[in-house]
């Protein structure tokens, strides 16, 4: 029966056109940027593998935010259109429905990010190679740790959006908070703490801690790997937990 709920959630995801468009954009953006940089960089011979990976990792974070919006919309549209009532009528256990949404969100996001990462790498290094660059994976320190941190971040971001959606239950508001949290809210909170005399507040901002871990192995002020993604996962799990408790108490 759990497999049936997963299958139903998967049908919900792939049968809405805007979902497919968001996945397409999330895939295309890092690939396109990597290819454009490879085509137009003035000195391809001095571009090395670590720089290409840094570029792809950075643009993948934008893709992650798009995918986070997808999961926020996927859940909150159920409240907007009342389909959550149809869902809970078919599957009265709300835990199972939310768990299935989390699982589908994690798997799809991880798969899209993984495919995007390697396609962007393969295409951009192929272009660079044709222009005389010798960029290769050998030039990248901790490539697998970087990749694992990116995949971990992608999974946790899908939980994060799910948790916000469960709590807020409104599509525009959830999407705005999902986007502004890493882009604005954490910076404002960090600034407020800094002005109050609290040092190192930035490293404890959950989104930043995980994002930094993708491109930073723990040096400097960041929590690094694996603590950055783990810390963000804990925050996201709390969000989902609070959302689930509210979901069970509220009327559908």
């Amino acid at each position: 029966m759990t497999g049936a709920v997963l299958a139903a959630e998967w049908i919900k995801v792939h049968t809405i056109r805007v979902h497919r468009v968001l996945v397409g954009v999330a895939f295309a953006f890092p690939v396109l940027v990597a290819v454009l940089v490879a085509v137009f960089t003035p000195e391809p011979r001095v571009v090395f593998g670590n720089e290409v990976i840094d570029l792809i990792s950075g643009t993948s974070v934008v893709s992650l935010l798009l995918l986070a919006c997808l999961w926020a919309i996927n859940l909150t549209a159920e409240y907007a259109h009342g389909t959550i009532r149809v869902t809970y009528a078919a599957v009265p256990s709300r835990w199972r429905v939310v768990a299935a949404k989390a699982a589908i969100g994690s798997l799809v996001t991880a798969a899209v990010v993984a495919v995007t990462f390697w396609v962007a790498w393969w295409v951009s290094t192929a272009v660079l190679s044709s222009r005389g660059s010798s960029a290769s994976l050998d030039q990248v320190r901790d490539i697998w740790a970087t990749f694992a941190a990116l995949i971990a971040l992608s999974v946790v971001v899908s939980w994060f959006a799910l948790g916000l959606g469960l709590i807020i239950r409104n599509s525009p508001a959830t999407v705005v908070v999902t986007l502004l949290w890493p882009l604005l809210i954490e910076n404002l909170v960090s600034l407020a703490f800094t002005l109050a005399g609290v040092d190192e507040a930035q490293r404890w901002m959950p989104y930043q801690a995980a994002i930094t871990a993708v491109v930073d192995d723990g040096g400097g002020d960041s929590l690094g790997r694996p603590w950055g993604p783990l810390y963000f996962a804990a925050v996201a799990a709390v969000l989902v937990g609070v959302g689930m408790v509210l979901e069970n108490r509220r009327d559908a």
């Binding site: 029966m1 049936a4 709920v5 299958a7 139903a8 049908i11 919900k12 049968t15 809405i16 056109r17 805007v18 549209a77 259109h81 009342g82 389909t83 009532r85 149809v86 869902t87 809970y88 009528a89 078919a90 599957v91 009265p92 256990s93 108490r249 509220r250 009327d251 559908a252």
Partner: protein, 305 residues
């Protein structure tokens, strides 16, 4: 069999459903009536656990909804035709329900045919009229071939042919032993399709009985008489303690309406003194009259005129 026992639902200080108890029997269509805001939809949502009831219990053949294995194969529900994503194709909407509910996907084509949407099943729901969405909602309710069917205003937005179709469909379901609970504001339709009635007002039970019994209980049956000897008939009727009102001009009218006597009694009175009768008719009020008479005080909202 549906049993609702002591169901109570509050929204803040407002009591939407107040210690409501009733039952709906298999093989019968039970109409669920009440004025706007009386708690019908809230009751239906509480019945399947979508709204959390503050007190009371609802069972389907003895089991609460959340204890049913694959509940849509036991209870089919149509709460609102709008509960569908407009960007999704109808067939995909039904597939999500079927798969989640443990029903074979092949049932999707069956129910689409049943509700007459086969030709448009692959269209996106945003292109559907309200009537088509009602049919789609009914298709989703029937996916699991359930023994109990709960429908909230299923005739909303349907044209006359659609209304007749849904009436026949519900009668057909009941004739096969299913329990059908249907709310509607179209009292004429309810009087044609329902066997029993549950009437609520301000969240409380007002009455629960067969349709005919409800009309008898809450209306007055009258007898209309036309005769060249109407004056004598009226005198005899009044002498027996019943009321009789001449219709129209007292001097020239040959008709009267009598209350407080059965039609056979009026006929026998006329026969006693050899009065010729041109008309002897029992006048019965409609379900609408009965409904308005019992819910007048319980109406949450009413016009100022």
């Amino acid at each position: 069999m549906i049993r609702v026992d002591g169901l109570t639902k509050r929204f803040g200080r407002s009591v939407a459903v107040d210690n409501l108890s009733f039952s709906a029997a298999p093989g019968r269509v039970t109409g669920f009536l009440g004025p706007n805001g009386s708690g019908k939809s809230t009751t239906m949502r509480c019945m399947i656990g979508l709204d959390r009831a503050d007190a009371g219990q609802v069972t389907f053949d003895g089991s609460p909804y959340h204890d049913l294995s694959q509940p849509i194969t036991h209870v089919g529900v149509l709460l609102d035709a709008g509960y569908v994503h407009p960007a999704r194709r109808a067939v995909d909407h039904l597939r999500t329900v079927a798969v989640a509910g443990g029903v074979a996907r092949s049932r999707v084509d069956d129910v689409l045919e049943m509700v007459g949407l086969v030709s448009v099943g692959r269209s996106r729901v945003r292109r559907y009229s309200l009537g088509m969405r009602q049919r789609l909602g009914l298709a989703a309710a029937l996916l699991g071939d359930p023994a109990v069917v709960i429908l909230d205003e299923p005739a909303n937005g349907l044209d006359p042919e659609g209304i007749r179709w849904i009436r026949d469909m519900l009668r057909h379901l009941a004739s096969h032993g299913r329990t059908v609970l249907v709310s509607s504001h179209q009292l004429g339709e309810i009087s044609l399709m329902a066997d029993d009635l549950v009437v609520i007002g301000r969240g409380r039970l007002i009455d629960e009985c067969p349709v005919g019994e409800f009309i008898r209980r809450h209306t007055t049956t009258r007898v209309r008489v036309r005769s060249p000897h109407i004056g004598e008939i009226v005198r005899q009727v009044r002498a027996r303690g019943a009321d009789a009102d001449i219709v129209g001009d007292l001097a020239f009218s040959d008709a009267a309406v009598i209350t407080g006597l059965a039609i056979v009694d009026v006929g026998e009175i006329a026969a006693e003194f050899g009065a010729v009768l041109h008309e002897l008719t029992e006048v019965t009020d409609s379900l609408e009259d009965a409904f308005l008479s019992v819910t007048g005080e319980a109406a949450e909202f009413r016009s100022g005129s």
